[in-house]
Symmetry: C2
Subunit: 357 residues, 2 copies
């Protein structure tokens, strides 16, 4: 059975880091006889430039046909003045929504070899291993009505709608509880139920779903407190589950606790574990084309793809082991480099992972 | 001219820390002949218990009559099961909105004497001095429509509305730019304009107001990136300006960077600089009644009141100097205590500030 993977390099450093991940994928594909077939498509600014749209119909169609998608990154200052509907980010949002990729998994893991890279004290973050489960196709990102209107008095007013239905909340709750079972069996649900009605419902549904997972411990925390606790004592968390907007904010904060966001992969899954995989970091236009970007988060995203969508745990393990090995060999791209380590570029890092495989 | 100050002790540790701030206020009142007259009112859980409502009409009336309000803290598990409309937090929101206290100033300052208390590395936070300006009477906290409804298919849906008009944004922009002038003249406006229309308008109005402050530098940052940058390099910021919800999250994150949230005051001002002053920390029900809470944030809130509402800079300076002096004397409440320091309780700390005055 062939496994169809659509590769979307995107913008900025996207093409460079994707090239290395593809190199690694090709090797494990052979080695483990995975039957992966790669094809490539346009998304984001690259698609705007080529077709005028951030998510061309052909890309959405190819994404629907594929079993999994590997994405580099989208966006950059070049498209900052483009009208909202045609901005690169819209392509990303369109693919999430069009493919119903409602479950966004963002691990924040501190690699022991990179402990020094964190701005936090070593005792606060050493061994950090949090999984943020973010709802990705609902909430205020997609809520209607939305827009900018002119009031009777002539002034403008901007408005968006933060909305969740029971079934949307239930669906992401199940993902969080199931994943917690494979970890430390603790879920902390983040809301603002002392102010926002939509998150009162969120909290109620979390409680309801928790009954089906008596072996998993559920706690609740307000989002402002969660933003504090991530700084104060991040290791108190196992799985965090939250909505689209809070998840956007908290997952970036959590990622930065590690100090090495260039190492963090992510997965966006639909109900059948079909998914899009991408690094947590962005398109980094400032260093694009220089061959110095860190490809490891993208390579690890490919590993996540093998694990979650294709159930190929050993192939995923092999990639993750190879990444750990190159760190042990003291190879570092510029973003994670420190005194005494050997600085390498994007391609050399990809080659090293292939060699370690 | 008498200055009428309404004191609202609130819940949890509120009454204990307020008692110390009142002690300090009485001393400077005499010393600087300020003409302050104090009265006391009920807010939050204490008001729910006494009257059934978190914000009794008499408290709102007294607050309107007063020139300034000094608040302890509200809320606690005792009222967690109370219906939403009667929760202690609603009293706080009601007073903010009823008095049009739209400008919330939350400084995040690292006291040199407490540098070790931060979970971040000293070089990342030493000398930290950020001012967060949060819009406090609009945005998703107050937007209509809101609620929980039952859909046609029988499932429930929760919804809130994130809304800002031009004039609301303009008003808070002026506060941020004016305050930046008294500091390092840099404003960073936080939005999510790549996704939310309401914050597209926010960004546009910030740009427009910036033209009136050519000496102040305006930059923009997405909220997810801001949550990261606060961890990565918080000293890059001078004044941060943002809406109610993002401000709630980011100001708590920023406060925790200092590791000593028990030291941080806040002000909520109306258009005439009438204001409510309160510590950034909450009601800490777990330690209430034990006489161990840190009263310094509340004492510093009283100083802020003298400075912002009453224009009594020297009296404010005197209090702030006294607080710094007690830290130099190595006196510490439990929350900021470290090896080699002398641990003192709430009252002893208040007495020490009075003695230092
Ligand atoms: C690019 C942007 C639309 C996106 C988001 O806000 O979801 C990004 O920040 C992310 O977290 O993947
Ligand atoms: C208690 C709560 C309603 C309040 C808020 O969210 O504004 C608090 O978190 C704060 O920041 O003052």
């Amino acid at each position: 059975m062939t496994k169809k993977v659509l590769v979307l390099p995107g913008d900025g450093i996207g093409p460079e880091i994707i090239a290395e991940a593809v190199k690694v994928l090709n090797v494990v594909n052979q080695r483990f006889d995975l039957g992966i077939e790669l094809s490539e498509g346009l998304l984001g600014g690259a698609a705007v430039d080529a077709t005028g749209l951030p998510l061309p119909e052909s890309t959405l169609e190819a994404a629907k046909q594929a079993d999994a998608i590997l994405l580099g990154a989208v966006g950059g200052p070049k498209w900052d003045k483009v009208e909202t509907a045609k901005r690169p980010e819209r392509g990303l949002l369109g693919i999430r929504s069009g493919l119903k990729l409602f479950a966004n998994l963002r691990p924040a893991i501190l690699y022991p070899q990179l402990a020094h890279a964190s701005t936090l004290k070593p005792e606060v973050v050493s061994g950090l291993d949090i999984l943020i489960v973010r709802e990705l196709t609902g909430g205020i990102y997609f809520g209607q009505p939305r827009g900018i209107r002119t009031l009777e008095n002539g002034e403008k007013e901007g408005f968006n709608t933060y909305v969740y239905s029971e079934s949307e909340i239930r669906r992401i709750a199940h993902v969080a509880f199931s994943l917690a079972r494979q970890r430390s069996s603790r879920v902390c649900s983040i809301d603002k139920s002392n102010v926002l009605e939509v998150t009162v419902l969120w909290r109620d549904v979390m409680e309801e779903v928790a009954k089906e997972y008596p072996d998993v411990e559920l706690s609740h925390m307000y989002v402002d407190n969660a933003a504090m606790q991530l700084v104060r004592a991040p290791k108190q968390f196992d799985v965090l589950v939250t909505g689209n907007m809070f998840g956007d904010i908290l997952s970036d904060e959590a990622a930065m606790l590690t100090g090495s966001i260039g190492m963090l992969p992510s997965a966006s899954l639909d109900i059948n574990n079909k998914g899009m995989y991408e690094p947590c970091h962005g398109s980094a236009p400032d260093i694009a084309g220089q061959g110095i970007a860190n490809p490891l988060a993208t390579i690890l995203s490919a590993a996540m793809m093998l694990r979650y969508t294709f159930n190929e745990g050993s192939a995923a393990d092999a990639i993750e082991k190879a990444v750990s090995d190159v760190l042990d060999q003291n190879l570092r791209t510029a973003d994670i480099w420190s005194e005494g380590m050997q600085k390498v570029g994007t391609q050399a890092m990809g080659d090293a992972v292939v060699a370690a495989l």
